[in-house]
Every structure is written in C-alpha cells, then in structure tokens.
C-alpha cells in the first residue's frame, strides 16, 4: 500500500500528513472498486431495473404487507398512522375547547374531561409527535443518503408494529371507558395503586412501554443507517442537515427513553406487586417519579423539535437556492442542543421545594439552550438574505415557523427564571408556551415538509392554491387559539381544570381560544383534503420538482422499491446542484439477492457489501408476542414468566441464520 513508516509519518508537518492520508485513501478506494467488480453477467438500464424490481419486491397480499421490510412502506405507515392519531388528539382538543369556551360549563364532566386531557397529551406526545418524526426519517433518510434500505429493516418493521399496538391499546381502552385519567405525566402518588385503583393508570404505563420499545428500535435503525449506509463520498461533513438532525434525535432517544422505561416499569411494579418505589408512607419517594420522568420528558421536547429543524434546513436550502449558511454552526448547534437538553429537567420542578440556590444551575442551563437555537435561526435567516426565497407553500411554513417559534422560545426564557416560573408554572401561560414551541416549532415545519416531500412519496404534487389557503388558516387559527392563553395564564388560570368560575376575567380569552381552535381544525382538515385530492388528481411530479440538491431527488417519484438502480457517489454538500453531467455511481453490487453497500463512519469510503434481510413475518409475530406480555402484565405478574416463552421462540425464528449463495452472481455495471 504505502512505504511510509510510522515514525517518519509522525515527523511530517500536519498539512503534508493530511495530503498523504488523502492519497492513501484514494489508492485504497480504487483498489476497493476493482475488488467489488466481480465475474458474472453484467446488467444495465431497463434490464437491471427489472431484475432489481424482482429481487427487492415483497411477497404480494396481506401476508406480504405484514412481512414487508421496505423502509418506504414502513415510513408511509408510520406517517399515516401518526397523522390519524394527530386527528384523534385534535378532536379531543376541540372537545376541551368547547368545554372551556364558557365559565362553569357542564358539557363535559370532571372525570371525562380528565381522561380527555390525559389522552390528548399522551396521544400527541407518544403517538403523534415522536412517531411522525421517525416515520419521516425512516422514509427519507435512506433516500437522502443514497442507499437501498435502512439498517436492520426487520427491526424497523417490528418498531412500527409495536407503535401501532401501543396506540391501539390506549385508544381501545379509551373507547371502552377504561382510558387513563392521570395526566400524560402521571405524577405519583396520584397514579399509584392507592389513588388510581382500576386499570386506567396501568394502561397508560404500558402504552408508554410500547412506544419506548418502538422509539428505541427506530432510533437504533436510524443511527446505524446514518453512520454506516451513506453513499460513498458523503463524509460526515457533507451530510445533509436533516440527516444530522435525525442522528442527534436518534441518539437522544437512546439516552432519554431508558429513563422513562425505568420509571414506568417501577410504576407498574408498584401497582402490580406493591414494591412502593413511589410510596412515601412505605419509605419510597413521590418525587423520584418526577426526576425520572422529566429526565426523559425534557429531552422529549427536543426529540420532537430537532427533526423539525432538519425540515427547516432542507426547505430553506431548496427554496432559497443556497446551501444553509454556516453549515458547521448549524451542526454544532444541533449537537449542543442535544447535550444541553439533558441538563435542565429540574426546571419542570421549580415548585417542588428543592434547594433554591441549586435551581440557579437549571435556570442557567435552560436559558443557554436558546444560544444554539438562536444561532440556527440566524443561519436560516442569513440563507434567506443571501438567496432569493421562493415563497411557495413549504417556505411559507418556514416563515410561519420563525414568527411563531421565536415567541415560544422567548417565553421559554421567561419560564426558565425561577421567580417568574413560580407564578407561571402549571398555568395557561405554560400551555401557550409549549404549544408555540411544539406546534410552531415542530408541526409548522412538519406541514411544510409533508408538502415538500409529498411528490417524492406519492408521485404527485399537492395543490399550491389550496396549500396557501391552508397555511394562512393554520397561522391565524394557531395564534388565535394560543396567544390568548398567555393572557389567561397571567390572569391566574391553572392548567388541567375542567372548568373555571366566572368573574376572574377568563371569559374573553377562553372564548377567543375556543373559536381559534375551530379555525385551526378547519385548516388541518383542509390539509388532509388537499392531500387526498392531490393523491388522485394532483399534477404528476418529476423526480426533482423543487430543484433541490439532495439525493432523494435523484431517483424517480415515487422511488422504486430498490430506491436507486445505482447507488450514487457524492462529491459535494449539494450533489444535485454540482453535477457535471451524470451523477457518478457505484457498480458491482449483486442483483440476484438484496444487497447494499456500507461505508465507513466518518469518511464514507466503501466498506462492506451487506446482504439486506428478506421480507419476513417474524417481526410481526414477535411484536404480537411482546405485545401480549405487555398487556397481560397489566393483570398478572405471571404474564412475564409465561409470556417470555413465545417471545423467545419468535425472536429465535426471526434471527435464524440463512445460507448465502456461492455461485457466480450477476452484478450491476
């Protein structure tokens, strides 16, 4: 390879060393290229596409549907399911706004209302916001990275089924009137066995367990895909900002979810076998729950928000016709947000009587999160300043995002200060704050990005006119609903009350909020109608209708089951804008079996040819087996002992080794 010795190598100046490294890497790469071109019939063009189609296609019918490991199919299911849960959660929100439109209203009783707000919060956080971000990631990331599949595609399928079963458990229970009523945060001891008899709180806790397992699985899939499956040449420095955002988000999930997994398992064991982790009377601690829950719960907000910043970066880049200003600053901002997010959970607990001077640390940490976020916002604005933003629908949502989210960020700075938070905590001011952050910061970019990627996913464009009407209705409806909540909070309206007395000045802001909620709901309905209409009647999309720069636009819309006939090779940050003629591609992968190329973590040089697992029913069966354990353990501790047996069988079958073919392979040329 090279004749340079280690000692002389070390003695060289840094620049020289770097040059030699690059040369060496290039030499190694050319040898790799030679190696992966093997004997066998070479395929190109339509013949190749037809052959790949046969190899990658899943079995037909309902069995094939359940067995599919295609990331696009799973991503679509994730997105559609999450949007259905958004609609359900939205209907609950409307019910609450109807109840709160007038003081002393008796439309919805206390117990029903408490179930409704519990379901609203749990649905939006666990069944909509996190899964929809993962769904978009699972669909787009492999395309954006120029690969054929996610890593661990069967785990990916498993994660969807776990999510679906968790959602069905929660909503099935709600329909049967055994839905949880302890709040989406389920503070102990209210959620403990003494104050929540029955199975309502258990159903909440097990729904959490389902979504934890699902989110962890999807996070592992995304981290491994992003680190190992990028197209050759897509170094970490060239990786699109959405992929960076998903990487940070997935790593955060891996660190945050175990805390809530632990917390909810401890709650279940308190309720099922009386361990009393949280029971102060038996020397447990009621406050322990809050520490564990918010150690997860605060990063959760950023788990939702960070992918949305990735959406904003992609849309801004495409519609301003410029790479996002200060790419490295944005990446560092994402990472530092991800780290800081773990150091500020106590700001949810300023009223719990922990040592007051110690709170100052959490005030400082909470405020400092606005530094990376502020820098990111500057970078997007600088991109707009530099380029020429086309104000099409996705870009409108970005503008709406900045106007709205910044308000939420600034009220966040307010509630980070202990003296202010002690008044504002658990009031409608906080309700306004986090809806500005979550709807303004995550749902606006999501609606924008769904419009943006709709042609890629469905092959058709969404209506631009209807889209603009929808945007304005969303924007007006949102501010009409949530801006008055700042006011009602300052006037002393606490959260989670099913009614409020007349005469406190709360009538007007609440009535405005309720009317606004219906405007917002109309907008969401219009968005769905636009989507359905465009699915059948929209203009046919070209592979790259917006003139974007990233690789998902290099394949047809919608993409074939194998994503790319040839895996592309990347030579810049904005590959499709920097083309000299054809996109360079990888050759030499086999076509008679599912195979993709893995690359090295940092430099993305070709590493190994990786067989991709075939479609399989076992992830689905495993999800059922695990689901039975989770649900049965609500009722009996024996479920764990007996239920692991089918789980073990299903997992063994799932991982049963298969034989590799040894005969000469047809390869791509």
């Amino acid at each position: 390879m090279t004749d340079i010795r280690a000692d002389s190598f070390d003695a060289m100046p840094a620049g020289e060393r770097e040059r030699i490294r690059v040369e060496e890497e290039n030499r190694r790469l050319s040898q790799e290229r030679k190696k992966i071109a093997r004997d066998g019939p070479k395929l190109m063009g339509e013949k190749l596409e037809a052959r790949l189609e046969v190899t990658w296609r899943r079995p037909p019918g309902i069995i094939g549907w359940l067995a599919s490991v295609d990331h696009k199919e799973i991503g679509r299911r994730y997105i559609v399911t999450a949007l259905l849960f958004l609609a359900l959660g939205g209907v609950l929100a409307l019910a609450m706004r109807v109840q709160l439109a007038r003081p002393d209203s008796a439309l919805i009783g206390a117990e029903r209302y408490n179930q409704i707000f519990t379901m609203h919060g749990s649905t939006m956080m666990f069944l909509f916001a996190v899964p929809v971000m993962e769904g978009v990631g699972v669909y787009i990331i492999p395309l954006m990275l120029g690969t054929r599949s996610t890593a661990f595609p069967r785990l990916n399928a498993f994660s969807y089924f776990m999510y679906l079963f968790g959602g069905l458990l929660l909503w099935g229970a709600f329909i049967l009137n055994i839905g949880p009523d302890v709040g989406w945060f389920a503070y102990t001891p209210l959620s403990g066995p003494q104050f929540s008899p029955g199975k309502r709180a258990d159903i909440w806790a097990q729904m959490i367990t389902f979504t934890e397992v699902s989110a962890l699985a999807a996070a592992v899939v995304l981290v491994c895909t992003i680190l190992k499956a990028r197209a050759p040449g897509m170094t970490l420095a060239r990786m699109p900002l959405f992929a960076w955002a998903m990487l940070v988000q997935a790593v955060m999930i891996i660190f945050a979810m175990p805390a809530v997994a632990l917390a909810s398992s401890m709650l279940i064991s308190d309720r099922l076998v009386g361990i009393n982790f949280y029971n102060a009377v038996e020397h447990g601690d009621a406050l322990l729950w809050q520490h564990l829950f918010w150690f997860f719960g605060h990063p959760e907000v950023y788990i939702i928000f960070i992918p949305a910043t990735g959406f904003v970066s992609m849309i801004t880049e495409t519609f301003c016709r410029r790479p996002v200003f200060a790419h490295a600053v944005v990446v560092l901002a994402l990472i530092s947000t991800g780290i800081l997010a773990f150091g500020l959970w106590v700001h949810h607990m300023f009223a719990t009587g922990l040592p007051r001077v110690g709170y100052s640390f959490y005030t400082a940490a909470s405020m400092s999160v606005s530094i990376p976020t502020g820098l990111q916002i500057f970078c997007w604005l600088a991109t707009m300043w530099d380029g020429r933003p086309r104000l099409q629908v996705p870009m409108l949502y970005v503008v709406g995002f900045i106007i709205t989210f910044v308000i939420g960020g600034l009220t966040g700075v307010m509630v980070a200060a202990v003296p202010l938070d002690l008044q504002l905590h658990d009031t409608y001011f906080v309700v306004a704050h986090f809806h500005y952050v979550l709807i303004g910061g995550a749902v606006f970019p999501l609606l924008g990005v769904l419009t943006y990627w709709f042609p890629k996913i469905t092959g058709r464009m969404m209506s631009e006119t209807l889209g603009k009407i929808t945007f304005w209705l969303t924007f007006i409806g949102f501010h009409m609903t949530f801006f008055p909540m700042h006011w009602s909070g300052l006037l002393g309206m606490p959260r989670r009350v099913y009614t409020y007395p007349a005469g406190l000045g709360l009538e007007v802001p609440n009535l405005i909020s309720s009317i606004g909620a219906f405007v917002l709901a109309t907008a969401v309905l219009l968005f769905v109608l636009n989507g359905l209409f465009s699915l059948y009647r929209g203009a046919i999309a070209t592979p790259n209708p917006w003139g974007a720069a990233t690789l998902e636009w290099a394949t047809s819309s919608p993409p074939p089951v194998y994503n790319f006939a040839h895996i592309p090779v990347v030579e810049s940050n904005t590959p499709l804008w920097d083309l000299d003629g054809e996109l360079p591609v990888v050759t030499g992968l086999r076509v008679d079996e599912k195979e993709t190329l893995l690359t090295t973590v940092v430099a993305a040089t070709p590493d190994v040819r990786e067989p991709v697992p075939a479609a399989s029913l076992w992830p689905f069966i495993s999800a059922i087996a695990v689901g039975i354990v989770f649900i049965a353990s609500i009722f009996s501790p024996w479920a764990l002992a007996v239920g692991v047996i089918p789980c073990a069988i299903a997992l063994t079958a799932w991982f049963w080794p298969k034989e590799l073919k040894r005969h000469p392979e047809p390869v791509i040329s």
């Binding site: 003494q194 600088a382 308000i407 202990v418 008044q423």
Partner: protein, 340 residues
C-alpha cells in the same frame, strides 16, 4: 369604512368586559411582596425578549424584501458557495448579543430570587397547610396547645406580617398558589415544604390548587383574607372559641343529628361530640365566605344544596350523598347556620 363600524361595536363590549374584573386571582394582583417583584422582573424580561423578537422579525422581513429586488433565482454554481464574510461577523455578533442578553436576564432573575428570599425572613406567624383531595386543612400553630387553631379552606393573614406556611399533603401532590400574593409551592406527601408570604394589601384573594390532583382538581380553591393586624387578631380569637350551643328547637334537632350521626365520623366541631379528623373542620363554617373549598359562595341555598347532594355539585367529592329527609335537612342547615 361602513362595514367596520359594527365590528368595533361588537368588539368594544368584549374588550370592556375583559377589563372589568377584580384581580383577586391574578398575577396582576400586586397584593404581596413576591408578586410585586414578579411583575417587575416580568416587565424586564418582556422588554428584553421583545427587543430580541423585533430583531429576528426585522431580519426575516428584510431578507424577504431584499430577495424581491434580486434578479436571478439560480443556484450558486460551482462546488463551493462562499458566504459573505460580513454575515459571518454578524453571526458572531448575534451569538454574543444573545449571550449578553441571557446573562443579564439570568443575573436579574438571580437577584430577584435572593431578594424574595430575604423579604420572606423573620416570620411572625406560622401556619400549617395540609392538602387533601380536594380541600385545604389549615392549622395556626402556637406553642400553647390551647391556642392552636384548626380551620379549613379559608386562610386569614395579617397585612405586612411575614407568615410562614408549612406545606404537607395527606394524599397526592397539590400546589399552593395565591397568584395575587406570591408564586406557588407544592404540597408533597412525605415531604415538608414551606413558603413565607408577606401580604401588602388588605383584601380578599382566591387561591387555587395548581398541581393536577384528581377528579376535582378544578374545585380545590382557597379563600385568602388579608386583614389589618387588629382585625386579624379579632378573627383569630373568635375562631378559638368553641361552637355555640343552638338556641332554637330546629337547630337543636340539627345539632343532635350532626354531632351524633354520620357527619361526626368525618367532621370536627369544637365543643361538641363531633370529632372526625378526615374532613374540613366545621366549627365556624357559616362565618366563611365559601363552601366546599371555594366551589360555592356561602349562602343558605347553597348550604341546602351541598348537604342534600354534594355529589351533584362536586362530582367525585369524598363527602357522600346521604339522602336526608326534608325535616332533617332543614334541621341540619339551621344548625350549620349557627356556626358563625
């Protein structure tokens, strides 16, 4: 112009309506030292955050407006798009501005916090407040056991006197919050918290539980009466007295039923056989301003309604609906009304 007039005509009463209320449960109440400091700090934050917001929005609209003047809408060609060095400098400046702004706010917050803690020292009065689903048990502590006073759901405080309120809970987590006076503090089972309040303005304020505590969280309110010191002492001495014996035959019948019947299992009436400890103390019930933890104003009609069927007025409340015959109900209400 014409179509605008009716719009204003409909909006005006609404806006006036929004201004016509007492700040008796509001951060704008300005009735306590802490709340005043809250409002000062809130104003500082509002100004700083407002300036930052205007900068962002100004930049946003300037960027969009500028782009309208640019002609080409093409992608920057070539591998490397060079960004404007001036913009990089601005980025650093922007980062520094955020840093300085935040540091200023954090320091303001820290000193407000310290000054709140200082104002709340030197307590002269100690009260233990215990949260229950869904009412407040109140004990005015005293070294002399005969001077220890127990009441419920109505807290009287002397103006200008720092009062330490010790916070406990008998069941789940609640939060003590009287916005016109001060910020909130949780009542956590197994832990003892405390908050010291210095009321500054006489008046009647409303507090409300601020931590979700179950079905009737919305109806767990607290009346706070801030009096002059002599008036407070008068109230306190009166509260120490046992309940008077009823004088009318009707009230007497009620007395017998209440103190000998099911009510006494949970409720305490000082000076009688009723000694229950798990429900609000009724010794001077009729002297209070509200019923059922701020759910209803104290009137004869509400007293009838509450005694007859508490479950329909506050569904889920721990007090059962007994189903009293009318003559018993008359007697019980007549007796309760003597408990001034």
């Amino acid at each position: 112009m014409k179509p605008r007039v009716p719009a204003i005509a409909t909006l005006l009463p609404l806006l006036l309506g929004a201004c016509q209320y007492q700040h008796y449960q509001s951060d704008f109440g300005r009735a306590g030292v802490e709340d005043n400091q809250f409002l000062t700090l809130f104003t500082i934050f509002l100004i700083v955050c407002g300036v930052m917001y205007l900068l962002v929005i100004g930049f946003l609209f300037a960027a969009i407006a500028r782009s309208r003047r640019l002609e080409a809408n093409t992608v920057e060609t070539g591998r490397h798009h060079r960004s404007d060095p001036l913009m990089s400098t601005t980025l650093i400046g922007w980062g520094a501005l955020i840093g300085v702004g935040l540091a200023g706010l954090a320091i303001a917050s820290f000193f407000t916090d310290r000054s709140m803690a200082k104002a709340a020292t030197g307590e002269k009065l100690s009260v233990t407040l215990t949260g229950n689903q869904w009412w407040w048990d109140i004990v005015y502590n005293s070294a002399d056991a005969s001077k220890t006073l127990r009441t419920a759901n109505e807290l009287h405080l002397p103006v200008g006197v720092p009062t330490r309120i010790i916070l406990n809970s008998n069941d789940v987590i609640h939060s003590f919050w009287v916005p016109s006076l001060a910020g909130k503090e949780d009542l956590i089972p197994g832990r003892e918290n405390d908050i010291t309040i210095v009321p500054k303005k006489k008046g009647i304020y409303r507090g409300q539980c601020a931590e979700y505590c179950g079905a009737q969280h919305a109806h767990m309110a607290l009346v706070v009466v801030v009096d002059s010191y002599p008036d407070f002492l008068k109230w306190w001495h009166h509260q120490l007295e046992p309940a008077p014996m009823p004088t009318t035959p009707l009230a007497m019948a009620g007395y017998k039923y209440v103190t000998g019947g099911p009510c006494s299992a949970c409720h305490n009436i000082a000076g009688t056989a009723a000694g229950g400890q798990v429900a609000p103390d009724l010794t001077h019930l009729a002297g209070r301003k509200s019923l059922a933890a701020g759910t209803l104003p104290m009137t004869e009609g509400n007293l009838y309604g509450w005694v007859e069927d508490p479950q329909s007025l506050k569904p889920g409340v721990k007090m059962p609906t007994i189903g009293m015959e009318p003559d018993k109900l008359h007697a019980v209400v007549a007796y309760l009304e003597t408990l001034k």
